[in-house]
Amino acid sequence: MINETYYKRRYVVTAIFLVVILIYVIRLFFMQVVDQSTKQVANSMALLNQTIYPSRGLIYDRNGELLVYNQPIYDITIIVKQIKQNFDTIGFCNILGITREEFEERMADIQNRKKNRSYSQHTPQLFASQLSKEELSPLQESLHRFKGVNIRKRTLRDYTYNSAAQVLGSVGEVSQKNIEADPYYTRGDYSGQSGLEKTYENYLRGEKGVEIILRDNKGRLQGSYMDGQYDKKPISGGNLITTLDIRLQILAEQLLSGKIGSVVAIEPKTGEILALASNPTWDPKLLVGKQRSENYRKLLNDKTKPLMNRASQAQYSPGSTFKTIQALSALQEKVITPRTIYPCSGPSSTPIRCTHHHGSAINLENAIEQSCNPYFWGAYRDLLEKNKDIIQSFNIWREDIKSFGLGERFKESDIGEQSRGSIPSVELYNKLYGVNRWNSRTIRSLSIGQGEILVTPLQLANQAAAIANEGYYITPHLNKTDSFLTKRHDTKIDKQYFACVKQGMRRVMTNGTGRYYQVDSLQMCGKTGTVQNAHGKDHAIFIGFAPLDNPQIAVAVVVENAGFGATWAAPIASLVMEQYLTDTIQRQEIKQRISTTRLNPDVKE
């Protein structure tokens, strides 16, 4: 061996090298094994999770009529880098029907990073959005001529009928709140914002799929990651069959035109809602696509509040329609019998005057037929004074009334927008008048459905259904296929007491306030109401069902500030019942007259 003197130095050289490599190994161990953060960073940089949207479920009416479906719309995207060379700008403009200047302006917008933050000249940029098939087809045919121009398909909601806007609801871009509440959503997603679209959002939306795409350092997409091994196919949304009868719904809306009000029709045996109309309303197509936000703002600012679903959200005093269940409660608590008589002195009666000119009611049926105010005041007074303690009596009465579904939302129902209504409580009167400072006379308005009591049209229709069913109702609902919704609720009134009240309601239609609008063969039963209110003319109200023997339909109609219930609400209800039971309208002249009458000048067509 040569150079023996420094032989040992080989170890020093080796050691220096080994120490450095050891440091590197430790460093690599920390980078690759210990530190997990870089893995996420890496994924977010190189992998683009491209969402594939599922098609949203369709909505049908009870007879299989398609109500809501999806229309394809098209976005045109361009890759700026590619259209910079040999692009036939003039041809492109001609096909789209735009001028050269418009094209240049749009291009400038796209390339303006202030307006378009995610701009990259390598990725598709939105050039024009939400074009219909017709607008697009000329371009589609000659797309090959325009390298760098791409078409992106999306879907929007479309509607077969200009009807049921509030019930169906609308689909819109998710809000920040939606995103926070449900991690399923990301910015730019669509979700049901109201009505059935909202209630059945999770069912209708399906499940988004994802395609993982590799993205290079310039943001260019480079094809699928791991041959699509981790991709997920979208799952289409479920179709929804509703309980609505679209022809009945259209008729109801037609009859309401020019008026503010609502019509609710329920099949009593099933609780299925046949029609849930609210006017003013809007064409559901207005809240779709690019014009959605502008139209939404218009509707929101409309002083007639079209966005509100009056059928389930507006609250009114029930007026004389309330007398039907007042009678039932009095019968149940045995303060009256069907043959009980209370005297009536017409308009000079005290403490409540009678608005109708008729002789003293000879029995309960007659009192309902004539809507005799003093009769029901007498019955209510006796009911409250049956026990020494008015509070006890009042609470019994209150429970009877509430058992018809009043004063609370229908909790199991799939109607999203509901108001509670209100059945006054002991606490309320204690607060208003002081403890022991009120008696039956103080709250006498309740006897005829005025005063502190509030109900929604939906609750009124349900009440009519409960009477038709003689003692029970099924939660009113809109989904025809969900058996969980068909929950039976029994009222606190025994079945035996209903026959008499139903007879009374039948006589309203044959001899009483509803007599002008009945179809005898259909055995219509009903009760009109004319409700005083602070906003002008009386509200016209009607509840009813038909036929008497085997009720198929229960209806409630409210027309705000219209006047007599007999004049405005009864004909609407009658026509709705006729349509549903006979599938046609014989009395076209009434239909014509009602639907063309404009009672409220603010209501837009």
Binding site: M1, I2, N3, T5, Y6, Y7, R9, R10, V12, V13, T14, I16, F17, L18, V20, I21, I23, Y24, V25, R27, L28, F29, M31, Q32, V33, D35, S37, T38, K39, V41, A42, N43, M45, A46, L47, L214, R215, D216, N217, K218, Q222, Y225, M226
Partner: protein, 462 residues
Amino acid sequence: MMFLGWLNIYSTTSHETDLSPWSFQTFSGKQIVWIALAIVSAIVLVLIDHRTYDVVAYLIYGIWIVILLLPPLFTTGVKGSVSWIPIGPFRFQPAEWAKCITALAIAKWMSRYEYRLKGWRDLVVPIIFLIVPAIIISVWEKETGSALVFAAFFLMFYREGMSGYVLLIGAAAVILFILVIRLDVVQLSWGIGNVGIIAAMVLIMFIALYFLLFRLELKKESLILTGIIILTYGISCIINIWIPVNFNIISTITATLSALFTLVLAILYRNRDLAIITLFIVGSVIFSFGCKILFPKLPNHQKQRIEVILGLREDPTGVGYNAKQAGIAIGSGGITGKGFRNGTQTSMKYVPEQHTDFIFTTIGEEWGFMGTFAVLALYVAFILRLIQLSERQKDMFSQIYGYCVVSIFIAHIVINIGMVIGLLPVVGIPLPFYSYGGSSMLGFTMLLFIFLNLDAARVEKL
């Protein structure tokens, strides 16, 4: 036998070469051409009579110095570097071969019969041999990275007898540089001064004390020096209670006092070692201030690279982009990696210079820690084997050349991987056997196979 063993190691590593630029069809295609060329040239290099290398060493060296001057005349430059000569579709980088040729020349000079490495005078010629191409490459061709590799020859000098203090001084210089630059931004909260310069001065005095006490065993004198240091700092601290004191100046004064003290001792005892300590203190102080003053005057991109490494600058889009992307790519590999060709960061070109200088990131991402560990283990085996082979050479020329090969490989491996994993500044030098590039490939082949030829010739001489 040995030759076969070598071929084995080489083939193991070179086999991975055609795997590594996997995602780059065109590059991997070219690389196969380069590998073929490398194998042919390897055979030629082995077949040439070993004495030829000894004979023509100076001649080739001279020719190569001329060739090194050529590239800037032919090209307009790529990314600031002008080290290429375009030959048809390929670009030839003479700097990659210069290391091998310089190694031959230095080996020849140092293996002259009368040559003995005893003092620094004996190193003058070899240093000139290596510094000429280094300066041409870094200044004329603006390829700092390649020039840096020439510093590796000091490892060989050390093995052949150069004083270990040179390496220590080198290490001390690096530490002082880092201290001064890194801590320069930190201001003293009590009194005036930069922590960087003060720490450097204190470190210098501690080293001086260490040698005084443990190497020269001058107990009394060390005690006096310690006293001087404590006294100056103590007095300054007391004064600082009333008047703010500039501790930069105090530290410099203390260091100067220490130097004066050792100088006096050196003259009194007529001791050469004490004079060296004095020189060390003075040199270090000048070096520290040199760093402080000259660092801001460095070219901007080099300064920024150093600042990023030292953590003085956070810059994910600019200078730090390469290092950051490399870190993400390697880190995302995890323990087992994403699998062959499944690397997202590397195949999507997030890491710049992916197939050349940053090839190690592909290994890190696709093969994970297991992969990087295996590659490092292979390199360790490779280097240890090279050292062993160098040690058993019978003539000086082979041994010195062998150590040149060892040093160059170590420099490449350490600098390249260190830069990729963010421990060293980003300098563009290739990773042996992995990086794409014909010039470097052939350069490494030359280095290695000339040495194998010499090793094979060892048997003849017995």
